[in-house]
């Protein structure tokens, strides 16, 4: 209960009206940053960091972390409305959020996304409050082999998850790995696949790929289909918020599962992006409504959003207790801590209790403030859908271009964005999934360097991947997930007794898809 009294002291720090004001400013800025693709939380916080040097450290971190919460919330908005993920962790939100918007249920999808983000963050912050030291030690267990196992699990749980056949998913993933390999070899430091062209030495940033594949690709498709948004009849009604909330309790298992996956990935540190994909995949497989995923199922929005927000929140834990950033944004915040003269690490909780508990208290209040800000603006964002496509399309392209440029301040990236747009269009026409490309691009580098470090440690023996219980069970789970489509197919064929439950399953599916 020591944590509880410290937390109450933390809320005392927040009593200062200036801090409350910084909180709302931070949230609003963060939502804007989240909406603009490319200008991610890390960039946003980095740009605004110097502005906070004249504030007290506590006020500064409150404002900056609120920018971060805002960005996590805001990433969902463009995913739902335009099928353009504002942030990489909202890619999975597009799977069901965008079909919902097309059916005129944008308000419902946004409310669902924001509310589940809030729930995910709340669960993570409760874990943070009471289990910080314990959880920090767990993060230390993860060496190169364990981290690779986690990444393998993410890849494997993805195969067979989409509507597309598993082999198309694998092909798309391999394309993503090939792109991820361009640039610098993480183990030898040498350049590879740059073909002597030094512009390629930074490799392909996944943000550029996300913006092009999803944003530009979607615009191309819409143009082909006659310059009209399919989700024109978006209902704009504050009552939708209440109606959606009434539906939410049905998805409590999905939300809790998402939060657990998110916390785990945030702490280890896998990050918010794999967390959102993994949670979506698990929900699709375990939910009764799994067959509807991808067609506009609210549960398909709840799953990735709770996980992404829980991961985003818990990523701050290893930063505070160990000085290891769990996400790029956390890395920038870490720089901020040092500048304010605070040394993150095991002693921060003891030496600077006012700061730490002020920050944790601000996570509670910041997320409540964030929910209020985004929910009140739902009708506003949904109204964007009523703007004619011929007006909004150039605006989206301009925003995409600015976003692509901002990632590395490189003009060439805008050309890459356009090329990715064409690739995205072709993929969609051939019904290859895009998400595995992004996933492989996000995690490919990390997975490669963890794998190769593990190989250095084991002198090239693969046995390191089952050398202890932790890594062994994660790897085992990964293989099981990879083979799941084949296993379930074999079970259906081999066990006649299973045919009855199979029949029920199909019937259930038909019932739920019936209008």
């Amino acid at each position: 209960m020591e944590a509880l009294s410290s937390l109450i002291d933390g809320f005392g720090v927040l009593g200062d009206p200036m801090n409350i004001m910084y909180m709302f400013i931070g949230i609003t800025l963060g939502v804007l940053i989240g909406v603009l693709p490319g200008l991610g939380g890390a960039n946003g916080v980095a740009i605004l960091l110097p502005l906070t040097f004249s504030m007290s450290p506590t006020s500064a971190i409150i404002m900056l972390s609120c920018i971060y919460w805002g960005a996590l919330f805001g990433g969902a908005i463009t995913s739902v409305l335009f099928n353009i993920p504002g942030e990489p962790w909202s890619v999975a939100t597009t799977f069901d959020g965008y079909p919902m918007a097309q059916q005129g249920r944008a308000g419902e999808a946004l409310t669902g996304a924001f509310t589940s983000s809030f729930i995910g963050a709340l669960i993570a912050v409760v874990i943070l409050t009471f289990l910080a030291p314990l959880v920090a030690d767990f993060a230390l267990e993860f060496g190169p082999a364990e981290l690779f196992a986690v990444q393998l699990l993410t890849f494997c749980s993805f195969v067979g998850m989409g509507k597309e056949p598993p082999f198309k998913t694998i092909a798309a993933m391999m394309f993503g790995f090939a792109l991820a390999a361009v640039g610098q070899d993480p183990t030898t430091g040498q350049l590879r696949m740059t073909f002597g062209w030094y512009e390629l030495l930074r490799g392909f940033d996944f943000l550029i790929a996300v913006i092009g594949l999803f944003g530009i690709g979607e615009i191309l498709l819409t143009m082909e289909e006659g310059l009209a948004f399919r989700g024109k009849s978006a209902k704009i009604n504050p009552r939708i918020v209440l109606q959606t909330w009434a539906q939410m309790p049905k998805y409590w298992i999905t939300a809790i599962r998402g939060a657990i996956v998110g916390c785990w990935m945030g702490i280890t540190p896998g990050g918010a992006t794999p967390a959102s994909f993994m949670s979506y995949g698990l929900a699709k497989r375990m939910s009764k409504r799994g067959g509807n995923f991808g067609k506009g199922e609210l549960e398909g929005v709840v799953a990735p959003e709770t996980a992404a927000h829980a991961a985003g929140t818990s990523a701050l834990l290893p930063m505070l207790t160990l000085g290891i950033p769990g996400s790029p944004t956390a890395a920038v915040l870490l720089g901020g801590l040092l500048i304010w003269g605070l040394q993150p690490g095991p002693l921060l909780f003891i030496e600077q209790p006012e700061f730490v508990w002020g920050l944790i208290a601000s996570m509670y209040l910041g997320n409540i403030a964030g929910l209020i800000v985004v929910l009140t603006t739902v009708p506003l964002f949904a109204a964007i859908l009523r703007i004619p496509f011929s007006i909004i399309a150039p605006v989206i392209i301009a925003i995409c271009a600015v976003g692509a440029y901002t990632v590395n301040n490189a003009l060439l990236d805008m050309s890459f964005m356009l090329i990715f747009g064409v690739i995205g269009y072709v993929f969609k026409k051939l019904s290859y999934p895009l998400a595995p490309v992004v996933l492989a691009l996000v995690l490919g580098d990390m997975a490669e360097s963890n794998f190769r470090n593990a190989m250095v440690l084991s002198d090239g023996s693969l046995s390191i991947f089952w050398s202890n219980g932790l890594v062994g069970s994660i790897c085992g789970l990964a293989v099981f997930m990879l083979l799941w489509p084949a296993i379930s197919y074999a079970l259906r064929r081999l066990r006649p007794t299973a045919s009855r439950s199979q029949g029920e399953h199909v019937a259930g599916k038909e019932r739920s898809t019936a209008p």
């Binding site: 890390a42 980095a46 960091l49 110097p50 040097f53 004249s54 993060a139 230390l140 267990e141 993860f142 060496g143 190169p144 640039g183 610098q184 070899d185 993480p186 183990t187 030898t188 430091g189 040498q190 350049l191 030094y198 030495l201 930074r202 490799g203 290893p318 160990l322 000085g323 290891i324 950033p325 790029p328 890395a331 920038v332 870490l334 720089g335 040092l338 500048i339 003269g341 040394q343 993150p344 690490g345 095991p346 002693l347 921060l348 590395n408 301040n409 360097s449 470090n453 250095v456 440690l457």
Partner: protein
Amino acid sequence: MSYRLLVRSLIPATVVALMVSVAGVEDAKAEWKPTKTVEFIIPAGTGGGADQMARMIQGIVQKHGLMDQSLVVVNKAGGSGGEGFLDIKDSTGNPHKIIITLSSLFTTPLATGIPFSWEDATPVAMLALDEFILWVNADSPYKSAKEYIDAAKAEAGKFVMAGTGSKQEDQIITVGLEQATGAKFKYISEKGGGDVAKALVGNHAQSTVNNPIEQVSFWKAGKTRPLCVFDNERIKLTEKVTADMAWSDIPTCKEAGVNIDYVMLRGIFMPADVPADAVAYYVDLFKKVRETPEWQDFMAKGAFNTTFMEGEEYKAWLKKAADTHKDLMTKAGFISG
């Protein structure tokens, strides 16, 4: 905004702009000053040592109003910073661009073969030198560098050294250590200093050569132990960091019988062919930065070697450092063929 309103608001703006530009011309005769936003390139990712220092400088410049124009920090981290260096090379004659450097100034071109040499840029000033320390986990039995090296020798190729990046300073020191002592390490490359520190605390590596600032909190918390500092003399800070040790109590590696030293440059460069008074302007700016209490506090926290150099002295130091790196990297077989 209506047309008339636009015109009305433009006229005073134009007048002001003209006045400013006239004033600018007069100033240029006397002394160079930036006339637009200055871009401050970091050839490394967000959150690392160079990034922290550059953002610190940006904050100090802003807080103390040291510059009339704004200073904007830009990360160009691709290819171990090669992206940032090539940008400086392409910006010949542009006095509104500066870059903070670390050892990758020398190592990246050698390891990757990108067409850049430190002589393609104009040296401005050395801000500080970053120290490297040999760290082990506090649970390990090794109390001195000699004990540790002897143990590593006894179990050749079993001990793991974690470090930042590949063929950069951490791996160079590791290879230097191997050559000086005959011990053999398995080197694993991590993304940043924080991950390296975590590998040591989590017992995934036996030792690291982290910078002081990357390990200080673990040292204070009794999780890791410093064995020796890779410099010619001890760190001068005598204030106690842990209950019984100060930075100055850590022996140099040479004292401990391991004959190797290495410090990392934290310095500022500009593109080639910039006016001499522009260089003088930045030298003056960074002198002012160094006098602020924030900077001095930052230096003490990170146990930096606060040597400052400019002009010919700095160039001579750079020349020597470039030769040393070439030599170390050739011996280690790190030169890109």
